[in-house]
C-alpha cells in the first residue's frame, strides 16, 4: 500500500531539521528552568514574607496554568500589549516558566530535608547565610531533589512538542507537515514516537550516571 523506501528517503531529512529545533528548545530551556527553580525555591524558603509569598504565588500560577494556554498567551496574547517574541523565544520562555515552577517544588523539598542544625553549625563557624546556603544547604538539597528534577526534565523533552502549536516547526511539527502532504501519518508518527523514546532513554541514562557520580554514603540510593 505504501512505498516505505521512498517515504523514508525524503522523510528523514525533513525530520532531521525538526529534531534540531527540538534539541535547541530542550537545551536552552532546561538549564534556565533549573536555575529558575533554584531561585524560586530559595526565595520561598529564605526570602522575607513578601518574597516568599510572591514565589508561592508564582508556583501556584504556573502549576495551575495549562502549558499550551501559557504558550498562547505569550505568543498570541502579549503582542496586543506591545510585547512581541519570536515563536521560538515564546516557547522557550513558556518552558522555563513552567519547568521552573515544578523544579522549585522539588528543590524546596530538598532544602527542607537538610537538617536545620547544619545551617546553625555553618553560622557558628562564621559563615554568612548566603555562604551557608551555597556551600552547605544547596549541594545537599540538589542531590536530594535530583530524582524529581530528572522527572521534570523528561516531561520537558515531551512537552517541547507543544511548541508546534505556536508555529515552531520542531520534530512533531515537521512530521505533521510531512505526514499531511504525503498522507503517511502512521509511519511518520511512529518514527517520531521512537525518536522521543530514544531521547528519553538517553536522558535517563545520563541522569543515572550523574546520580551515581554525585552519590554520597548516607544519602539514600546507591
Amino acid at each position: 500500500m505504501i512505498d516505505l523506501q521512498f517515504d523514508f528517503e525524503i522523510l528523514l531529512p525533513a525530520l532531521y531539521k525538526g529534531a534540531l529545533v527540538t534539541f535547541a528548545l530542550i537545551l536552552v530551556s532546561a538549564p534556565f528552568g533549573f536555575l529558575n527553580g533554584i531561585g524560586i525555591a530559595l526565595g520561598r524558603t529564605y526570602g522575607n514574607r513578601l518574597v516568599s509569598r510572591l514565589c508561592q504565588g508564582y508556583v501556584l500560577f504556573f502549576k495551575g496554568c495549562p502549558l499550551l494556554l501559557l504558550l498562547f498567551i505569550i505568543y498570541f496574547g502579549l503582542p496586543s500589549l506591545g510585547i512581541t517574541f519570536t515563536a521560538f523565544t515564546s516557547a522557550v520562555i513558556g518552558f522555563i516558566l513552567c519547568n521552573g515552577a515544578y523544579n522549585s517544588e522539588y528543590i524546596r523539598g530538598g532544602i527542607q530535608s537538610v537538617s536545620s542544625g547544619q545551617m546553625t553549625a555553618a553560622l557558628s563557624l562564621g559563615m554568612s547565610r548566603v555562604q551557608a546556603i551555597r556551600s552547605i544547604i544547596l549541594p545537599q538539597a540538589l542531590r536530594k531533589s535530583l530524582p524529581g528534577l530528572s522527572n521534570e526534565f523528561i516531561y520537558l523533552i515531551k512537552y517541547s512538542s507543544l511548541a508546534y502549536m505556536i508555529t515552531v516547526i520542531e520534530i512533531t511539527g515537521a512530521g505533521n507537515i510531512f505526514a499531511a502532504k504525503y498522507f503517511a501519518f502512521f509511519e511518520v508518527f511512529i518514527l517520531i514516537g521512537i525518536f522521543y523514546l530514544g531521547l528519553v532513554t538517553v536522558a535517563g541514562r545520563i541522569i543515572a550516571v550523574i546520580e551515581k557520580k554525585i552519590a554520597i554514603p548516607g544519602f539514600g540510593g546507591v
Binding site: 542544625g117 547544619q118 553549625a121 562564621g126 555562604q131 545537599q140 554520597i216 554514603p217 548516607g218
Partner: protein
C-alpha cells in the same frame, strides 16, 4: 587546686556576659545571667533540663538573639546583625548535641570548608590544617569518611576538630555527650579534658558530673533561668553554701 586558683586569678577576662534576658513567648528562659570568663578557664553549667543552659550558650554567639543584655569578647560587643558578627562567631567555636556535621562532606572537608570559605585559606593550606586538627582528635584514619560512616563518638570528635580549626578564643559545648552511649561519651570527654588541660577556654553545658568535678575551674548551677550557685568543684563538694547544687548532684549519684 592551687594551680586552678592561680589560673583563675591571673587570666585576663576574654568573655563577659552581662545581664542576659530571653523570653520565648510568655516564658522567661533567662532572667538576667551574668558572668566573666578568663582565658584558659573551663566553666561547666549544670542544672535541671529546661533551665536555659543551652539558650544561654546560643545567646553568646547570637545564634539565639537575647532580648536584652550584652556579650563582650575581648572588649568588642557581640551583636546580632552587627558588621563583624561573622568574624566574632569565628572566635567563638560551638559543639552541638547532635553534632550538626555537614552530611555531604568527608570528615576532612567538614573541617576545611570554613577555612576556605570564611578564612579564605588556599585549599592546600586548609587541607594541611584540617588534617592536623583531625590528628588532634584521633580521626586521621577517618579523613575520607562521610559523617554517615562515623560512630557517634567519632562524629562528635570531628565536630570538635571543625570548631578547633577556626582557632577560636573560646569553645561552647552544648550537651556534647547527651546523645552518646557511655562508652562513646568517654572518648569525647577524653578529648575535651585534653583541650582543657592544653589551656583552651571552654564553656560546657553537660550532665556529666564526673567531668564537671574533675575538669571545671568553676561549676555554675542554673535553675529557672538564673545562676543559683557557683563555685569551684571542691567548694561545691564541701561548703554548706552549696546545698541546692549538692542535692542536684545527689540525684545523679543515685543512678
Amino acid at each position: 587546686m592551687g594551680t586552678v586558683m592561680h589560673k583563675m586569678m591571673n587570666g585576663e577576662i576574654i568573655l563577659r556576659v552581662e545581664d542576659i534576658h530571653k523570653c520565648y513567648g510568655d516564658i522567661e528562659v533567662l532572667k538576667g545571667v551574668s558572668f566573666d570568663v578568663r582565658r584558659g578557664e573551663t566553666k561547666v553549667f549544670i542544672g535541671p533540663s529546661g533551665t536555659g543552659k543551652s539558650t544561654l550558650l546560643r545567646c553568646i554567639n547570637q545564634l539565639t538573639i537575647p532580648d536584652s543584655g550584652c556579650i563582650w569578647l575581648n572588649d568588642e560587643e557581640v551583636i546580632y546583625g552587627g558588621p563583624r558578627i561573622n568574624q566574632l562567631r569565628q572566635k567563638i567555636g560551638m559543639v552541638f548535641q547532635n553534632f550538626n556535621l555537614f552530611d555531604h562532606l568527608t570528615a576532612v572537608a567538614n573541617v576545611e570548608i570554613a577555612l576556605i570559605r570564611v578564612k579564605g585559606m588556599s585549599k592546600a593550606d586548609a587541607r594541611k590544617k584540617a588534617l592536623e586538627e583531625l590528628k588532634q582528635v584521633g580521626l586521621l584514619d577517618k579523613a575520607n569518611a562521610y559523617p554517615a560512616e562515623l560512630s557517634g563518638g567519632q562524629a562528635q570528635r570531628l565536630s570538635i576538630a571543625r570548631a578547633l580549626a577556626m582557632d577560636p578564643e573560646v569553645i561552647l559545648f552544648d550537651e556534647p555527650t547527651s546523645s552518646l552511649d557511655p562508652e562513646l561519651t568517654r572518648e569525647v570527654l577524653e578529648v575535651m579534658k585534653r583541650l582543657a588541660r592544653a589551656g583552651m577556654t571552654m564553656l560546657v553545658v553537660t550532665h556529666e558530673m564526673g567531668f564537671a568535678l574533675s575538669v571545671a575551674n568553676e561549676i555554675l548551677f542554673m535553675e529557672h533561668g538564673t545562676i543559683v550557685e557557683k563555685g569551684s568543684p571542691s567548694d561545691i563538694q564541701t561548703s554548706p553554701a552549696f546545698a541546692r547544687t549538692r542535692m542536684f548532684l545527689g540525684t545523679f549519684q543515685d543512678d
